[in-house]
Symmetry: C2
Subunit: 405 residues, 2 copies
Amino acid sequence: MARIVQKYGGTSVGDVERIKKVAERVKASHEDGNELVIVVSARAGVTNELLARARAVCSEPSERELDQLLSIGEQETIALVAMALQGIGVQAVSYTGAQAGIVTDTSFTKAKIQSIDASPIVKDLKSKKVVIVAGFQGVNVDGQVTTLGRGGSDLTAIALAAAVKADKCEIYTDVDGVYTADPRVVKNARKLEEISYDEMLELASSGSKVMQSRSVEFAKKYGVVFEVRSSFNYNPGTIVKEEVAYMEKVVVRGVAVDKDQAKVTVSNIPDKPGSAGKVFRSLAEANIIVDMIVQNLGRQGVANLTFTVPQGDSAKAVRALEPVLKALGGGEVAVYGQVAKLSVVGVGMKTHSGVAATLFEALAAAGVNIDLISTSEIKITVAIAVDKADEASRVAHGAFKLDTL
Amino acid sequence: MARIVQKYGGTSVGDVERIKKVAERVKASHEDGNELVIVVSARAGVTNELLARARAVCSEPSERELDQLLSIGEQETIALVAMALQGIGVQAVSYTGAQAGIVTDTSFTKAKIQSIDASPIVKDLKSKKVVIVAGFQGVNVDGQVTTLGRGGSDLTAIALAAAVKADKCEIYTDVDGVYTADPRVVKNARKLEEISYDEMLELASSGSKVMQSRSVEFAKKYGVVFEVRSSFNYNPGTIVKEEVAYMEKVVVRGVAVDKDQAKVTVSNIPDKPGSAGKVFRSLAEANIIVDMIVQNLGRQGVANLTFTVPQGDSAKAVRALEPVLKALGGGEVAVYGQVAKLSVVGVGMKTHSGVAATLFEALAAAGVNIDLISTSEIKITVAIAVDKADEASRVAHGAFKLDTL
């Protein structure tokens, strides 16, 4: 018997038939004697429908009203999942974010969880009820509905797992777990049994779409061990935790690729203290995520900065930079189309040298030209041509023997 | 400048175009300097869609979960109406039932309002915001969502009008107001400028579909004056209040017809004390509304009971009665198809004699046969054949000169 938090995403509860399948799955676990908290997202597609209606009545709706509107998506699912469980003889009760005592700050559409009063949930668990909680949403101290932004339902599950002191947290999704590389690209990619928080974080920020960084960060901070697994089969998934077996012996744990990047070059800006700061401050204020920053000096007195941004943000980046360059007294911005970021990640890198050399040699041997390089303690990232990205994945995967480790 | 509560039903907010029209209407009243609380229902059709989904996952969902589910219908509308107002430059803020402090008992699907803490709404009104409140819903003391049952949004509007001490309450619907008879049937039917609570109550229970009795009862209890009017034009509607001009001089205020009734006869039941009580207790427990009860004695020692029930409940009535007759030791139940109830209503009847005679003579002259008769202080009701009901409406309307008064 264990206390388990399970989270099902929008695809897993996409229609009434899938909701009934989730209910069957929950029933089986409940009959094993487990105490269960089930976190669910809105049905896939519902959020977009609601947003379309919002835009039809108002071009720029307030974020408070957007949250009031969007939160009904999960409220529908919790009620339907609770009913589906009741329909097969399982006692179940649904909680909105507010009812679950999930108190957030007042940053509508991207609120941060401040506290959870889980005592009513724990009381229901003790009386053998399955508790269904709306993911993605909370309430501020004034009782206004807030939403947690992207990846919010995962965050709800992990935060609740900490609050109810769960033995386990299971994140059900449409993939089997975390792989050494994208299995659609690298045929012999392996599912990882375990991965550390830090490795998972680096993979998340490197293009692995399994989970958002903030949920992993939250889990790391509160020591919540969680498993990423599929709701469409019963295969074991990948367990994410602090300490992983043979952690330092495995040099590279996985390869991640993000093909949706653009390279931006800011050249010939006056080389004086504060120039780079002003450039990146303006991008941060425009909410653009910048990666792989490289600076070099050009002709005397001027500097060049190169970095990557998400492809969709490149035009916005140019608009944000133009006034800055004017204020700095010179410089040009150029965008170099689409590039791919390839990252190899592993905690073991910290204590092993030669990882970078192995990667660069392998890519060179395969004729993949490296455009930019950046490194962290447990990650090496290179920018390469998009049309070389799949081949580069396979080469890197092979070079670090990820199929056999 | 006045403080006004306006209520818009599901048809008035049926799609985004209609929501924008409501917003224009609200804006105009707001620009006149009024403080506005807007109560809205779910978009027409949404409740049925949600119920269909509920039934698809569970044949008998719990009422708690039904309320959790159904309440999202109004939550969608309040957010969209608030956004539509913001889109045309009006400051607006939406409140769910819970946020509006509408506390009810725990009778899910038919909750009763216990208290309203309107102070946050009043604060928003004073800062010139239009306040949009979800009709039909509240919350119990444990924070569980409840719904108020049929006519719930009207009730929300009238209860809020009392709570915020509104100068006026306007119930917008798809009819122009309360008429002396159904204008589709009686060509010269007149819209009433005013009507008393008691007359409105008798009309509501007699087949006039304008409003449910409970909202009128609530308004009468708290002295809330309200106006029933159309959201599709700017015509004045009908004002409902305690004292109406020339109240006692107008003998009959209106004619109402309910064609959806069945006549039930329970014959040859043992004529002993308590028999009738048991018969009607069993119908009450089956939630069947009984009207026009007539008892007469048959052959020695047995009694016959005749009454009307809503047509759709007649089979249920038979099922409810069969075990009772068995327990009483005899009797038969028979249902006589569809009948119509025609009622004439007016506070003035109390002090005028001859109203019944005028009605019966007029119907007789038109060849309408009267099957059953029942009367209250301010109402006379007759059961007649359905195919005579329209003609009977016109005859009664003419007999009491309702077109000219």
